[in-house]
Structure formats: structure tokens, C-alpha cells
Symmetry: C2
Subunit: 317 residues, 2 copies
């Protein structure tokens, strides 16, 4: 690569999100309402104590789609009022309803949160890239904020509406300054490697730390993984070992992969809330919004046995 | 069946929705906002001139999931303010966000619209019947209206969250006075026949008129079909012929099946809007919200050729 090309690429990458990002869990209170106090404390722990470079609020793990626009706006406001820096947040704003996506994106940008993580509208299936492009374009144009950074959220198993290479190309052609990255929650290393190879200027984040080191070595920007809610420090060690070119990086990677396999053996969100409740001695963290359900007593016991076997610290944060 | 059992069954069925229901299209105006005036006029035509027994607003065909809660509430209010009787409406209120489903259901019930059509929360996939039951239960209990009638919306191709027999049984056991029926948009005649056989007290509506006569003869309550937006009178003739036991009912069914095949050859919602725009000479009807896209010029021309070949009247309402 010629040095000017390198410089351009480095410039394009400057200011992109990178590193370990945790899609924060959302605590629930009475009547299944979001519990701002517990959620804010969790976000703060992730950033200050658990080694996360940033927090994605209102991702799949945060049960974003289970909350109303008003609930999501109020919770973001509470996080910011608590003094969390907008630069360390990525805000989920992609909804089925175009008007909701516009409202949430404007709201986040208006509060200085320039990074948004956007699911495509996910009710209609088999829609065209043209239609998905039109949806993102409406949100970007009606938000009208030159600083907005859109991270496309590819989660085909849940959205069943994939982010295709063709869609990314269209969007990059129209909004080169705004489209900044992709969170690839497909779990497919080959697909993630293809995103990295084809879109070298974008920040590509695999959605699982199982493939983090491999993807970092191919050019990924980091990782946005649900596991970071409970295993941040260990995942961060892999990032640091990779950054420093240390020889133990694969060994550290193998450890977090083993933990991940246990975490994902049962439904992920109740599993993470179970661990957090156990660790904090706070059963309020067990609550999930329907249609999710808490782990059964049996599942919880089996989970704790498995994690102890791996030497995973269930007590300390 | 003993006569008392028959009486009980008839009693249970009394007051259930039945007949031909149109899931009304939603007209769009400037900035892709809902156009209340055109939508209300369309609802009125469906009821007064097109032979529909009722109208389901905010179904899949009405692009419900593409609109915010505020937009949906305003449009329902406009329909009621125009003098449409609540008894002739079924209001779509099922969203991903529990709080949205509760707000819309309360709103509809508060305005006297006791019949609601509820999608399950559809972002998370592979969720348990227990979790789906909890979701419907929260909505029913927090609405707290003894007159509420819930019609479960089974549309596995789009929601990817099926309404299982187990879920229906759980809900019927808990809310026997509230769970009134199922709209089965699977398109699968066998599955629809199973719903009818297993839940004889529920009003089962296939979501396509292609199987209407067959299902009516097995005990279906009617049909809720997108096609009724443009082919209501012909579908109604099948209903009437079946009601009257007329011999030409199969012949009439074959006609509407042939039309349906043409309608569903391209994406359904833009197809129906294309026909309506053509028929009314009103291009405003062409608008769809992203991620949907209007038919291409080629698709529109091919559609009109096919429909003319079938003798489908493209001019008159």
C-alpha cells in the first residue's frame, strides 16, 4: 500500500469507534419498567471498572426493541445526566417504524451522542436493498446532523433482514461521511472477514468475542459483545495483548472462547442477568421483559456449576 | 353433538367477528406521514360499497409496524371521528415493545374498539410459549377491560414467531372471555384446518381468500385478506354463496383464487396500492413507507395486463 493510501486510510479510520464495547443490559424495576438507577450504575461499572472502551445502549442485549421510544429516550437522558460521556456511547436507534428511528436518532444526536447503531426495519422480510437504503436515507437526512455516525447492525438470526454488501455500498456512496461501521452479529467468521476485506474504511465489530482475535488480525475495529456485561476484563486482556503483540494473546483468546460457550448454552440475556444478579447480590437484575423469561432454577444452577468449573469469577466484578 | 353443547357453542360464538374483513391499506401524504383523509375514505368505501363486514386497521397490509404509536393513535381517532362504528373495526395493537402494545390496546379499548388483532412481540426469535403468554397476559391485564376481545395474529413468514396450539391453550385457560380468535396468515390450509378443529369456539380467519370456501366449510369464521382492499365484492359473493348454500360457490371461489394468484405475484402492499391509485385516478395512493418500495413501471404494466386478462375491473370500485 502506498504511503498516501495508508495515510488516507488512517485518516478515514481516525475517530472511528474501536476496542471492546459492551451492549449494556437494561435493569427492570416495578411493572417491568426500566430501572434507570441500576442501569446507569452498570454502564458506569462497564466503563470504569470492567475495561470496556464504550457501551452500546439499546442493542439486542439491552432488550431495546422491548421498550417504547419514550422509555428509551428517558433512559438515555438518565445515563447522560449521570455524567457518562456521550463519546463513550453508541445508541441503538433502528426500529420497525421509520418515524421511531428518526425520533430516536434525532434525540441521541441532539444530546451529543453522534454514534448510533441501527437495525434495519425488521418486520417485512425479503425487502430490497433499495427499500432498506431508503429507510436509512430518510433517517440520516431527517436527522440532518453532519456529525452523525451510523453503525449498521447486521443480526440476521433475529432481524431476518440482512445487511448486504450491496446495501453497504449504496449507503457509502450516498453518505460516505456518515456510514462508519458495521456490527456483525451473524456469528459467522467468514461473513465478518468478508465485511472487513470489502470495506476497509469501516469499523467492523464482530458480535461475539469467540472470533475477536482472528478478526482483529484481519482488520476488525474491535468487538461489541453481550458477554462484556459479565466478562469485560478478560475480553479486554485479549484486546490489549493483541494491541501489544504479546505472545499469550491466543491463550487468552481461548479462555474467553471457553467462557462464551458456556454463556451461550442458554438464552443469552437471562443468562447474563442471572450472573449479574448473583455477583451483585441483587435479585432485581433477574427481571426480563416478555417475551424473554428468566432462567429456570435448574438452568441457573447448571450455569453456575459450569462457570465455576472454568474458574470464572462469579463473585467479584 | 348434544343440544346443550350446541347451544353453548353457539353462545360462545355469538358476538364473534365473522365474514369478510379487509386489512385496510394506509394512505401516505407528505413526508411519508399517514394521510388520514384518504385512509378514512378508503375504510368507508370498504364498509359501505365493497361488501366488507369489517375492517382491520393496522394489520400487515396497513403497514402498521412502519408507524409510531402516536401515528397509529391519531389515525384510529380520525377513523372514529369520521363516524365509522367501532364495532366494524379490529385494531392492530401488537408491537415488539410491551409498553407500546399496552398503550395501543388501552387506547383502542378506551375508544370503544373492543376487538384487537395482536401480533406477538416479534424481534426475539425462538422464544417460549411461556414468554409469549406473559406478553399477552401483561397487555390484557393492564388494559383491564372486560369487553376486550383479542384476536391472535399468526403470520410466521413475517413475524417468525408462530402462534402455537400450546400458546392458544394457555391463553384460553387464563382468559377464556378475552381470547376470541386467530387470524392465520400462514397461507397453509392444513395448519388453518388444525386451528379450526382444535379451537371450535374461536373465530378462525384465514389470511387469504384462496382457501376461504374450504375453510368456511370446515368452520372458519370468515376471512381477513389483503385482497379485500381491491376485490371485496367478489370475495363477498363467495361468502354469500356459502351462507346461502348456493351451488355456484366453488365457481365463484375459483374466480377469486385466480385473481389472488395475480395479486400475490409481486409484493402485495405496493400491488394493492398500485391498483387503488389506478382505479381512483389518485397517484397519492402509490406511496409506501420504506423498507417497502412501489412497483416498478414494468411490474405495474404486467400487473394490469394480467388483471385485464382475468376480466378484473380496474376502473370501477
Amino acid at each position: 500500500m502506498a504511503s498516501t493510501e495508508t495515510a488516507t486510510l488512517e485518516q478515514a479510520k481516525a475517530g472511528r469507534a474501536e476496542g471492546l464495547w459492551a451492549p449494556a443490559l437494561t435493569a427492570l424495576g416495578g411493572e417491568l419498567a426500566p430501572d434507570a438507577e441500576r442501569t446507569v450504575a452498570h454502564v458506569r461499572r462497564l466503563l470504569d471498572e470492567e475495561g470496556c472502551h464504550g457501551v452500546a445502549i439499546f442493542g439486542t442485549t439491552g432488550e431495546a426493541t422491548s421498550f417504547s421510544v419514550a422509555e428509551r429516550k428517558a433512559l438515555l437522558e438518565a445515563v447522560l445526566e449521570a455524567g457518562i460521556a456521550p463519546a463513550r456511547l453508541m445508541v441503538g436507534t433502528g426500529c420497525c417504524a421509520l418515524s421511531d428511528s428518526i425520533e430516536l436518532t434525532r434525540h441521541a444526536a441532539g444530546l451529543g451522542c453522534k454514534r448510533v447503531l441501527m437495525l434495519p426495519p425488521f418486520y417485512y422480510k425479503g425487502v430490497s436493498d433499495e427499500g432498506l437504503h431508503a429507510s436509512y436515507a430518510e433517517v440520516i437526512e431527517r436527522t440532518g446532523d453532519a456529525k452523525l455516525e451510523v453503525y449498521l447492525y447486521h443480526f440476521p438470526r433475529l432481524s431476518a433482514v440482512p445487511i448486504t454488501h450491496g446495501l453497504v455500498e449504496r449507503l457509502l456512496a450516498a453518505y460516505p461521511e456518515t456510514i462508519k461501521g458495521i456490527k456483525d452479529s451473524s456469528g459467522d467468521p467468514e461473513g465478518c472477514a468478508h465485511f472487513i476485506a470489502r470495506f476497509p474504511d469501516l469499523a467492523i465489530f464482530p458480535g461475539t468475542e469467540s472470533i475477536m482475535l482472528d478478526m482483529l488480525e484481519r482488520g476488525a475495529a474491535g468487538c461489541i459483545s453481550a458477554s462484556a456485561n459479565v466478562n469485560g476484563p478478560a475480553i479486554r486482556r485479549v484486546w490489549d495483548a493483541w494491541k501489544d503483540g504479546r505472545e499469550d494473546r491466543q491463550e487468552l483468546q481461548d479462555e474467553i472462547t471457553a467462557t462464551r460457550l458456556v454463556l451461550q448454552a442458554n438464552p443469552m440475556i437471562p443468562t447474563l442477568k442471572q450472573i449479574l444478579a448473583h455477583r451483585l447480590g441483587d435479585s432485581a437484575w433477574l427481571g426480563v421483559r416478555p417475551p424473554l423469561t428468566p432462567l429456570s432454577g435448574e438452568q441457573a444452577t447448571a450455569l453456575e456449576t459450569e462457570l465455576s468449573r472454568l474458574g470464572f469469577d462469579l463473585q467479584a466484578a
